[in-house]
Amino acid sequence: MFAVFRDLIRYNLEFTIGLILVGFVVIFAALSFFSPVDPTLIYMTIPDQPPSGQYWFGTNSRGQDLFWQLSAAFKNSLIFGITVAVLSRIISIAVGLLSGYAGGWVDRVLMFINDIFVAVPIFPILVLFYFVLRNSLDSFTLALIMACFGWPFDARLIRSVALGLKHREFTRHAVFAGMSTSKVLLEEHLPYVMPIVFATFMNNMLWSIGLEVTMAVLGFTNLNNPTIGTVLYWANSHSAMMVGVWWWILIPVVLIVITFIGLFLLAMSMNEYIDPRSRLRRMGA
């Protein structure tokens, strides 16, 4: 594992840049565990201070040090994005591999459900859940709901790869070697869909964090929980841009961009690395 890392860093500039960017954001988010202030408290410091030596990211109109506020917000948003991405990856891998491998009515039923999930627009559904659950709609519930809607497209991609794998001879060999279906899927087929899983993982995070921001900006999430969305919500409700507290919006946006450029570069370079074709080339085949 360490050797893999070393190789990637040494020979892949994109990976190195991505790692630095993501690492920067992750460390920044992790700092919130050592935050000297409770990010939910307001009026703990002088409001509206521009970035300075004392307040690196300035302070907002709610009297919060934006550095620690954003640190907590990024921690929560990243955890949220990762939760959605992991959960929906699990569903999409399970559905995609099974559907492609089993074929027949299993495939038809799964793909039919898949098509329904694709066609149902998620946003009205999320709003509906908010409409019903109101304040019980915490971020984990939100993540669960989003995960339930975040898998179908990727499941289709995985299925198309699995369909090809099903007819590869080594699959039949595995079957006649007495391997169980789950073993075939998880050990024989999974490595081939990992590139898709990686690429879609990043897209899914982007999608879920974006949706969370949308929900939060409309006030449809728990506003006391600092996330990228609620930071923007409060900036909006204090007319931050119009009154010149630009750092309240600019800094989180720059951090988001850094995060996703980093994730994009990582996904791209990791993908090339874990792609079975390039793996085989490295193995010297």
């Binding site: 694709v118 149902v120 946003f123 709003v127 019903v132 974006g210 949308t214 923007l232 841009m241 988001i256």
Partner: protein
């Protein structure tokens, strides 16, 4: 032709199933809501006036009968489908007694217009640039463009819309920032009116285009960089086929097949962007209607908006799917 009919038939069945499932889920979710529409109206009524307790009680009785909220949920569900088939989802509470469907019908063209134009623009430009970038991986302009696309893509809709608002409404106030058309324009099939609509839609559409563009660009670029390694492209290059034809008829045409599928899948997602855009630019569309409905606890309206948006998205996907055989001859003889 036969197989195309079968293709269409299968898609129609699927369309109906999607609508049925989506709409039923919508009904269930909303009717589990603890919000009592009668209390909502009473609350709004008495918030600013001096009503006696007796008056409140009698008004409550009247409203309960009117909204039929006393019935068991199964009856309500049945009635709901009966009404839906007639295109009537009951009166909106928010605009009582106007039918919720009428409110939706009024708002829908705006959202549809906005979404159709911005999605088409986004799709066409994003794919075109993505294809060129994928075909010319060493071109510096497209490399820079790719970085910009990656950087813009994660910026939340709200921020992009807002930056546009500040730039074109405040710093350099050249474009209208609110409403669907100007106050001194007479609605009708006139150039002035259509011009005014277009002018008012520039900023909202631009915000959607800016955010949506990157996805198509990156997707297309990745697709094309795979397709250029396909045998038929290599062969065409070896065959001295002109570059233009290769990009156009070999690379883009083949990449369009998966991109069209992706378009169908993406249609459901763009909806969330319009909601923000409509809020920021005071656009009278269906997204802000939904938000109003939620904030007022107007479940007739929320149901109507959800039902219509599910149906609209399903229909849009259906239409995109029907285009599939035109793009991909293999589907036709499947």
């Amino acid at each position: 032709m036969h197989s195309y009919l079968w293709f269409v038939g299968k898609r129609i069945l699927q369309l109906l199933a999607v609508i049925f499932c989506g709409v039923s889920a919508t009904f269930l979710v909303t009717h589990l809501s603890p919000i009592d529409p009668v209390e909502q109206v009473l609350g709004r009524l008495s918030a600013r006036s001096n009503l006696s307790p007796e008056a409140i009680a009698s008004t409550r009785a009247a409203l309960t009968e009117l909204y039929g909220t006393g019935q068991p949920i199964v009856t309500q569900y049945f009635n709901f489908w009966m009404r839906l088939l007639r295109g009537d989802l009951g009166p909106s509470l928010l605009a009582f007694p106007t039918p919720s469907m009428e409110l939706v019908a009024r708002a829908l063209p705006w959202t549809l217009g906005l979404l159709t134009t911005s999605t088409l623009i986004t799709f066409i430009i994003g794919n075109l640039f993505g294809a060129l970038a994928g075909y010319n991986p060493d071109n510096r302009f497209f490399q820079a463009f790719g970085i910009v696309a990656i950087a813009v893509q994660p910026i939340p809709y709200y921020v992009v819309a807002f930056i546009l608002l500040v730039i074109f409404g405040f710093l350099w106030p050249v474009l209208p920032i609110s409403g669907g058309f100007a106050m001194d324009v007479r609605p009708g099939l006139t150039l002035t009116y259509i011009g005014s609509i277009l002018q008012h839609s520039i900023l909202p559409a631009l915000s959607l285009v800016l955010v949506g563009f990157g996805g198509w660009f990156l997707g297309m670029r990745a697709l094309v960089s795979n397709i250029v390694n396909d045998d038929y492209v290599t062969y065409a290059e070896l065959g001295g086929v002109s570059r233009r034809t290769i990009v156009d008829a070999y690379v883009i045409r083949n990449a369009m097949v998966p991109q069209l599928t992706a378009l169908a899948m993406a249609l459901g997602g763009v909806f969330s962007g319009t909601v923000i855009t409509e809020q920021v630019f005071n656009y009278p569309g269906i997204g802000s209607l939904l938000i109003d409905g939620v904030n007022y606890g107007d479940y007739s309206l929320v149901l109507a908006v959800s039902t219509v948006s599910i149906t609209a998205v399903a229909l849009a996907i259906f239409i995109v799917d029907l285009l599939h055989p035109l793009l991909d001859p293999r589907v036709r003889t499947e």
